[in-house]
Point group: C2
Chain length 390, copies 2
């Protein structure tokens, strides 16, 4: 069975040697080890928060990440959950690309929030359409229930799209204006894949484009994809006024995330191990992405109605099939694909319940886990299943 | 300043050497290290869950901890939060000792639950009074809103009390009968301090006394107090029917707690490092507890109206002052104590808002962090402040 479904990271490029070296350093420094074994503050290790801010500001020179506005969590998912629990009441509305990250949609729905989908394409969220949706909600008297625009800003899960520079400016303008006329709308920028760029040039993050936007943009990051999901350190940079409520909620949830992981990541950053590891991990994933795109071109390039986005990074390729072909688990395609030994994530999971129609002729393909041969093999099997449906 | 307030663990007995040895083993075993750096399942590492079950069943021979019913979290607080978020709706009722663990009260109130206090003494929760309270709630038509009895079963925070064996039986009987006549009431047994016994004999945990009670008792444990809060692995053993909802909520929250910590703890247990470390940590805390009890006797033994409980373990001593003396932060005692350079936790924080009156003439004293000399010094200062109020 070839799984192109799992969103796990590549085993081959896990940073074993770098982690070993950092663990040795911790073991040799008794006071550091003792600190790692003790509690730290609820917002997370002040030293790691400084390291993250410095590192971030070095890589995104116009960014204004401030250690005092950083909250450390066990992965960025935990930060997103914390944010949503802190700020949303049942019935509150979050706007998101259609399709969007289905795990966070589940979190939002669990809280009783409404997730409304907005059209999106290769350049990410369509900001004109977002404006229309906002105005429509205002006409319905719901302006004060719209709390956030959620954006997976780089190489998003599931569609692999990156919000273009003009759209970033447009989004910041729109939300800035809306806040003046309607209320405290925020942008939640999920940068989980930001460090996994394999082609093209980096784009500035939202708060780098507009430093004033740090009043309403929450930037969310993680080292799970770029270093190790097992160590599991994520973070958010939040507007100052959110820190007190986030701290209070985090106190109720877990008193602060595991400190040992934070000390380990601090060593990783301070010793330069993250910077050293990034080219390795990027080279590994670039080869896999290219293998998947090549295989798709070869196997499905001539199939009418089949197309896919060309991500410049991340872990996913978004595939669209001809209109009539259903890709969900009770479909003929799914049965045919599993019989041929290939698994994928049916795209319909990724569409918010409101706003845009669900396109069940879509598929999320992951290239992170399989080898290049496995990817080619998987795409061949999938193409055979697709051709059998036509 | 001598703080008898912080609930942190003792720096001196943190398991530095044992952790070093286990980290070395992980570094030398490439496949184990690689596994530690990768994601694991949302419920937590199956291998650690087996290790915890085996370890638990070895120490509490009649217990029926089953790895398939164990959920791993980043500390027991995170498990308690997960449990409360999963099972409680706003307006639901949790019954707890008065006083009880104030952090979890905050969590429950954050969810909108009502916490109702039940009288408690040296032997823990007064189960007759609990029965009266349950019947009172049933008469009010609230039987179906009472979801759990929360018990810090051993050396509780803040009062240092341990639920006696007869009361454990009585509690199991009462809740078992209530479930037959009224509905799915549960017992949430927070065993955070279970491994920190310094005097007297171990008592069987609730599910050891009555294996059938594993249908309605959730046992919660942690290695934060007994090994290291920085590694931060806690767990809950839940009734089978709760596992699916707990898993679903945990998926929304963080996808599973940090796996590196779980692999490290697994080494700690499997290599016998936990069993080796426990006598050290117990000896360290026993000396501190004895120092605090001796100092209290010497400094306050003859002061009319002052008394305290004699815990057999844990990290806290509960001090009651004469009726007229207020210990809260805006009191003369607090001012006098801080001027003399000693800090404590005012007891009033630990009383549920409903059920029993708040006794503001109470104090929680922690003996975990200070040295024996620091403890004696702190109690001398506190006694001087108390005598200055009389």
């Amino acid at each position: 069975l070839v799984s192109l479904a799992a969103g796990f990271v590549d085993n081959a490029t896990l940073p074993c040697a770098a982690t070993q070296a950092c663990l040795q350093q911790i073991c040799q420094d008794q006071s550091l080890l003792r600190r790692a074994l003790q509690y730290d503050t609820t917002l997370g290790s002040p030293r790691l928060r400084r390291s993250i801010a410095e590192w971030h500001n070095r890589h995104w020179p116009d960014s204004v990440a401030d250690p005092d506005r950083i909250v450390l969590t066990a992965g960025s998912n935990q930060f997103l959950h914390l944010l949503a629990e802190t700020l949303l009441d049942p019935g509150d509305i979050v706007l998101a690309a259609s399709p969007t990250y289905f795990v966070f949609m589940g979190t939002l729905q669990g809280i009783g929030a409404r997730v409304i989908g907005v059209p999106a394409d290769e350049d990410g969220l369509n900001v004109d359409a977002l404006q229309d949706q906002l105005e429509h909600l205002a006409q319905q008297g719901l302006a004060d229930r719209v709390k956030a625009v959620y954006s997976v800003t780089e190489f998003d899960n599931p569609a692999g799209s990156t919000l273009s520079f003009p759209r970033r400016q447009q989004l910041l303008d729109l939300v800035g204006r809306w806040r003046e006329s309607h209320g405290p709308l925020q942008i939640w920028s999920d940068n989980a894949y930001q460090l996994l760029r394999y082609h093209g040039e980096s784009l500035p993050c939202l708060t780098s484009i507009s430093p004033e936007s740090s009043e309403f943009v929450v930037e969310v990051g993680t080292f799970s994809k770029s270093f190790s999901p097992g160590i599991r350190v994520g973070w958010g940079v939040a507007p100052t006024e959110l820190l007190e409520p986030l701290l209070s909620m985090k106190s109720n949830m877990d008193f602060g995330s595991p400190h040992f992981s934070q000390v380990l990541l601090q060593q990783v950053i301070e010793q330069g191990a993250l910077d050293e590891h990034l080219p390795t991990i990027r080279a590994g994933y670039r080869a896999k992405l290219d293998a998947m795109l090549d295989a798709l071109k070869q196997e499905l390039g001539d199939t009418p109605g089949v197309h896919w986005r060309q991500p410049e990074g991340g872990l996913y390729v978004w595939l669209t099939l001809p209109d009539g072909i259903d890709a969900s688990e009770d479909s003929g395609l799914w049965q045919s694909a599993t019989e041929r030994g290939v698994l994928y994530v049916p795209g319909h999971y990724c569409f918010p319940a409101e706003g845009e129609p669900v396109a069940s002729n879509t598929i999320r393909l992951s290239f992170g886990v399989q080898s290049e041969d496995g990817i080619r093999d998987g795409i061949q099997r999938l193409a055979a299943a697709i051709h059998a449906q036509s």
